[in-house]
């Protein structure tokens, strides 16, 4: 995850493209269309998304073997129980933690939690599906309904309705390129819990899809129900896509499978839309099929037709009783859910009068927002109580603008340049604790150091080589500002006395000479003088020389 780039991508409309020589995105009456540059005709795009997100749980969905997600680096088949490998006689036992994660997810999208759901078996033969069936939820999924609100780049809003969320097992992995004639199977992933989040076909542009995936990814991370990293395969998407002309019936839909990044999904939709429109404009028919996406050519390719598909022979799994969820349980989880990203964003904007852009950055990661809010008030009440007992001034807060500058510009750019994904990983005693950060802010506020020196210290803290407090770091390097007015007074007076020519030039209106004086003082004090004080002194002594 790239903190700055993520937002920039959305704002720079990288997700809002399709612009090539054949098709152009157009917005008419607040609705998205595709315009064929060849025929000038207007097409509507219809897309539905199935997102598979691995549940963030210690164990798998129906066994007690370790859920290592799709992480690489584990010995193949080292996290496999008899249940995962479907040995004769073993039985699935539902992991309640996965249920909780699905309920959390359902609640966070405003879905209805199904009090009575059950599991079905979906049958097909494949080497990485040990049971010969996948346990999933076809007829009564655990969550029904819900929606996600998208904010498009041009400020428009778009609501995507969620059809349902079903709990199901992940399959193992087949490895085809390690042996010339054999396929290898790794069952470490087999049986991990998946939440399949199925949207309605509400998307009308690829931008919306990109936006939705980011939003969903962010939401799942925020509530902690999935790590949702696409590059690790913790989140995967299947896309259903069709095109039709306005006021005509929906076109034949094509399924795009196994997309591994949000970028790939957006490009594949654009490319598939172009393919379908060109076919239709040449009087060809769209075939009901499943296609893959080649990232290098940027084109979709045929995988299989609908006729090749097996009859999955769904039926309720007789090894698992119905999943009954009480109202009390739903209430308890609701209480524990905490503030959702959208609510948090609205509150931050209102409470701290910050911009939408800054709020969006802050809520990218719950821990950042928390850090931000903490640093405003941390230790402030105590200080006030100690210093004076004036209760009116009890809630003194730090300057929000300054905090945001440090947090969203300096810390973020440091994270990016050091390629660190997780903000949380730097929040610790050795690196950036809330104590250190607020002490640094206060030292700047008190004029002990300049903002620039503050940045230097911040990076020293982030680099983590020195564990001392900001104050100790400053003092040991002698970086504190010279706040001894008489010393500065003397320095400035001397400087003015020693440079009569420059003083004359200054009074003749050459402003750049002022900068010269300023620079000389900074040179002499090694940047530790308070610029404001120097400024005042300079003006005072220069004016004295005015004739």
């Amino acid at each position: 995850m790239n903190y700055l780039n993520k937002i920039n991508k959305i704002n720079n409309k990288l997700f809002y493209s399709t612009s090539n020589n054949q098709i152009k995105n157009v917005v008419i009456n607040n609705k998205d269309y595709l315009k064929s540059l060849k025929t000038n005709e207007i097409w509507e795009l219809t897309v539905g998304i199935e997102v598979h997100a691995q549940t963030k749980t210690k164990e798998k969905l129906f066994s007690n073997s370790l859920n290592i997600g799709s992480m690489e680096g584990f010995k193949a088949n080292s996290r496999v129980s008899y249940v995962d490998a479907a040995f004769p006689g073993v039985l699935p036992v539902l992991n309640d933690k996965c249920v909780e994660q699905a309920i959390k997810t359902g609640l966070s999208i405003g879905g209805m939690i199904n009090r009575y759901s059950f599991f079905d078996r979906k049958h097909y033969f494949y080497q990485d599906l040990p049971q010969g069936y996948q346990i999933t939820q076809l007829s009564e999924p655990i969550v029904k309904g819900g929606s996600i609100e998208l904010e498009l780049s041009d400020g428009r809003q778009k609501q995507i309705r969620i059809s349902h969320i079903q709990l199901e097992q992940d399959s193992g992995k087949s490895i085809h390129d390690l042996h010339p004639t054999k396929s290898l199977v790794d069952l470490n992933r087999a049986g991990i819990g998946l939440m399949e989040i199925v949207s309605h076909a509400d998307f009308t542009s690829s931008e919306q899809v990109g936006c939705y995936i980011q939003k969903l990814q962010h939401l799942l991370k925020h509530i902690g129900s999935s790590d949702a990293n696409m590059q690790f395969g913790e989140m995967r998407c299947d896309v259903n896509i069709s095109v039709h002309k306005e006021n005509t019936e929906f076109g034949t839909r094509v399924e795009l499978k196994n997309m591994i990044s949000a970028k790939a999904i957006v490009s594949s939709i654009d490319s598939e839309a172009i393919r379908q429109i060109s076919l239709l404009e040449n009087n060809n028919k769209i075939q009901r099929e499943t296609r893959g996406f080649n990232q290098e050519t940027g084109e979709t390719y045929h995988l299989r037709t609908k006729e090749d598909e097996v009859d999955y022979r769904f039926f309720p799994d007789p090894d698992l009783p119905p999943l009954i969820i009480s109202n009390e349980r739903i209430e308890t989880i609701k209480q524990q859910l905490g503030e959702l990203p959208q609510d948090m964003k609205k509150r931050l904007i209102k409470q701290y009068s910050i911009t939408n852009y800054d709020a969006e950055l802050l809520i990218q990661d719950q821990s950042i927002a928390k850090f931000f809010e903490n640093s405003i008030i941390f230790n402030q009440n105590q200080n006030n109580n100690n210093n004076n007992n004036n209760n009116n001034n009890n809630n003194k807060q730090r300057d929000i603008k300054k905090i945001l500058n440090f947090l969203l510009r300096d810390i973020f750019s440091w994270l990016n340049s050091n390629n660190i994904q997780d903000f949380n990983s730097i929040i610790n005693e050795n690196q950036l604790s809330i104590e250190k950060f607020t002490q640094l802010l206060d030292l700047i506020e008190q004029g002990y150091i300049s903002t620039n020196i503050g940045k230097t210290i911040l990076f020293q803290i982030l680099n983590g080589s020195d564990n001392r407090s900001p104050k100790d770091l400053i003092d040991s390097q002698g970086l504190s500002q010279i706040s001894d007015d008489s010393l500065l007074d003397q320095l400035v007076q001397q400087l003015v006395e020693n440079h009569p020519n420059e003083v004359t030039e200054y009074h003749q209106g050459k402003q750049r000479v002022y900068k010269f004086f300023m620079g000389e003082i900074m040179k002499k004090t090694k940047g530790r003088s308070n610029p404001e004080i120097v400024n005042n002194l300079l003006k005072k002594y220069l004016d004295l020389k005015k004739k």
Binding site: P88, G89, H123, G132, P180, V185, F314
Partner: protein, 563 residues
């Protein structure tokens, strides 16, 4: 003949030192191999000598120092579809012919914890699909009540019998059901035929079976032992290789009802960590102990406290006269002793059979899809194919093994499953696959589920209705054991299960008790069924009836073929 068949008595002799574990166990082995190795083909594999010796030694030590457990040293047979650690578990199928689990099923684990000696894994119909124990890959089980050779003590005929490790064909030497010398061989029933025949032959003190549609009760009836299938969920299915998950019920086959109660007491235990369908034995949330309840009833209740129901719907045209007469006789005997007997109606019984065959095969088609040759068990290897081909073709040159293209996944699946499963199993997989397919689901699977509910409601009406029936009495099977190799219409074979299936559909406890011999000297039984989670009541009723003066001597009879 003085047969020591009661667990309590055997245990007492062992404690008193009158009987040594070694003698008890090795005598059983001797009997199993009497005449020929694995004489009646009741076992697919026997415990190996080394671990047997070790267990005997440990059990004896515990008896000697007074720390014996409840089943210490008691030889128990376990049906070969219960997983047993490092002990082959084949389900009677070629596809698992060399499969050794690395874990114990809960049933086996609980038995071992009480010191029981798992003497062997009993023969069965392949994957429990059958009613005769003749369809397995390891030969046919012989009913110990078969008619022996009049001239000789049947040594001549059986010298080619399969032994444990020889499993390469289905043909043992029991092909003639009517020898010149008068030998008539009968089936043991199925699918737990090995378990039933082993107990009837005194090869083990008791055995474990599984009952999906009558697979414990029908062979118990054919072989003349007690077969008890408890309420669904009371005994954990963990490690029991699934045939039809919603019907599969582990149970016990014993010489008498006390032994059944003792074993059930050990095996009934909620296993929530391994089996989601496992439940507590309780009454309105109050946990109960089945052995205590049974003993308490023996002490304080008698037959007058029970209401017996006779479902007229079980009077089918296929019913054998001897069995019909026994059924009537039991009613008279109960009434003679002051028991109340009422006629009841279970109107949906006649739909139970087709519903069962759709549901069981649907679940089977799904459960058996894991046998694909990828991870364990038999896999069709290219060598087999090459051998076949090479017979036809001349050999050309050696192929480089690394670069040879494999037969492909689909091909491997097809050949593995085609060769690995027997005919009956394949037939049922195909039937189940059809029932679940998109175009048939509503007409078959869904309708069968509706019938299942109706059958359950029938029972509910009888048990909770105005008569408040406690125990239903029906025949266990329409006929006594039939002859080996009797050519039978498959439908006719399926009809064999007609009396036993309804209680599986409803998850009710049911028990077959042997009472006497038919006119053709074959054991005949009745079946008792009670309401869900009243297994203690069922034990009590079974015990009471078996101990009527007219029936109590049956268990002391020795089967013909063993004399």
């Amino acid at each position: 003949m003085n047969r020591l068949t009661n667990i309590t008595k055997i245990r007492k002799s062992l404690i008193d030192g009158k009987l040594k574990v070694n003698d008890l166990v090795l005598n059983k082995i001797k009997e199993i191999n009497k005449g020929s190795p694995n004489h009646l083909n009741t076992f697919i594999s026997l415990q190996d000598e080394k671990s047997l010796e070790k267990q005997i030694k440990e059990s004896q030590e515990r008896y000697d120092n007074g720390t014996n457990k409840r089943l210490d040293g008691i030889p128990i047979g376990v049906k070969d579809n219960f997983s047993s650690k490092n002990f082959k578990t084949t389900c009677g199928s070629k596809i698992l012919e060399n499969y050794k689990p690395s874990f114990d099923s809960t049933v086996v684990k609980l038995l071992k914890e009480e010191g029981a000696i798992i003497i062997g894994k009993t023969n069965m119909d392949e994957f429990s699909m059958g009613s005769s124990s003749t369809s397995g890959n390891f030969g046919k089980v012989i009913n110990p009540w078969s008619k022996p050779n009049k001239n000789n003590n049947n040594n001549n005929n059986n010298n080619n019998n399969n032994n444990n490790n020889n499993n390469n064909n289905n043909n043992n030497n029991y092909n003639n059901n009517n020898n010149d010398n008068g030998e008539i061989l009968y089936v043991a029933g199925g699918s737990s035929g090995g378990s039933a025949a082993a107990v009837a032959s005194n090869y083990c003190v008791a055995s474990i079976g599984s009952d999906t549609g009558g697979s414990i009760r029908q062979p118990s009836s054919y072989c003349g032992v007690v077969g008890f299938k408890p309420s669904y969920g009371l005994i954990s299915r963990f490690g029991l290789v699934a045939y039809a998950s919603s019907l599969d019920t582990p149970g016990v086959l014993t010489n008498n009802v006390e032994d059944a109660a003792e074993l059930l007491d050990i095996l009934i235990k909620k296993d929530q960590e391994n089996d989601s369908t496992s439940i507590e034995f309780n009454n309105n949330g109050e946990k109960r102990n089945i052995l205590n309840e049974f003993n308490e009833k023996l002490k304080n209740k008698n037959i007058k406290d029970l209401v017996f129901g006779i479902p007229k719907d079980y009077l089918v045209k296929e019913l054998d006269t001897d069995i019909l007469n026994l059924w009537k006789e039991v009613v008279e005997e109960i009434e003679k002793r002051g028991g109340k007997v009422v006629s009841v109606s279970l109107p949906h019984t006649r739909y139970a059979l087709p519903a069962y065959y759709l549901l069981a095969t649907s679940e089977a088609s799904s459960n058996l899809s894991r046998f694909d040759g990828v991870r364990y068990g038999y896999r069709f290897e290219e060598e087999e194919e090459e051998e076949e081909e090479e017979k036809k073709k001349d050999e050309n040159e050696n192929k480089d093994d690394e670069n040879k293209i494999g037969m492909g996944l689909k091909d491997m699946y097809t050949k593995t499953r085609t060769n690995g499963f027997g005919e009956e199993v394949k037939k049922r997989i195909i039937l189940g696959t059809m029932a679940l397919s998109r175009s048939s689901y509503d007409n078959f699977y869904t309708k069968a589920q509706k019938i299942r509910r109706l059958v359950s409601d029938d029972f509910k009406n009888v048990f909770q209705g105005e008569n408040k029936v406690d125990i239903l009495i029906t025949p266990t099977a329409p006929s006594p054991a039939f002859k080996q190799n009797e050519k039978m219409d498959p439908i006719e074979v399926y009809v064999n299960d007609i009396m036993t299936i309804p209680s599986n559909l409803a998850g009710l406890p049911a028990c077959s008790i042997p009472l006497k011999l038919s006119n053709s000297n074959l054991p005949i039984s009745v079946q008792l069924i009670s309401n869900r989670l009243t297994d203690d009541n069922l034990l009590f009723a079974a015990h009471t009836i078996m101990n009527f003066d007219c029936y109590k001597d049956f268990t002391s009879l020795t089967p013909n073929y063993l004399k």
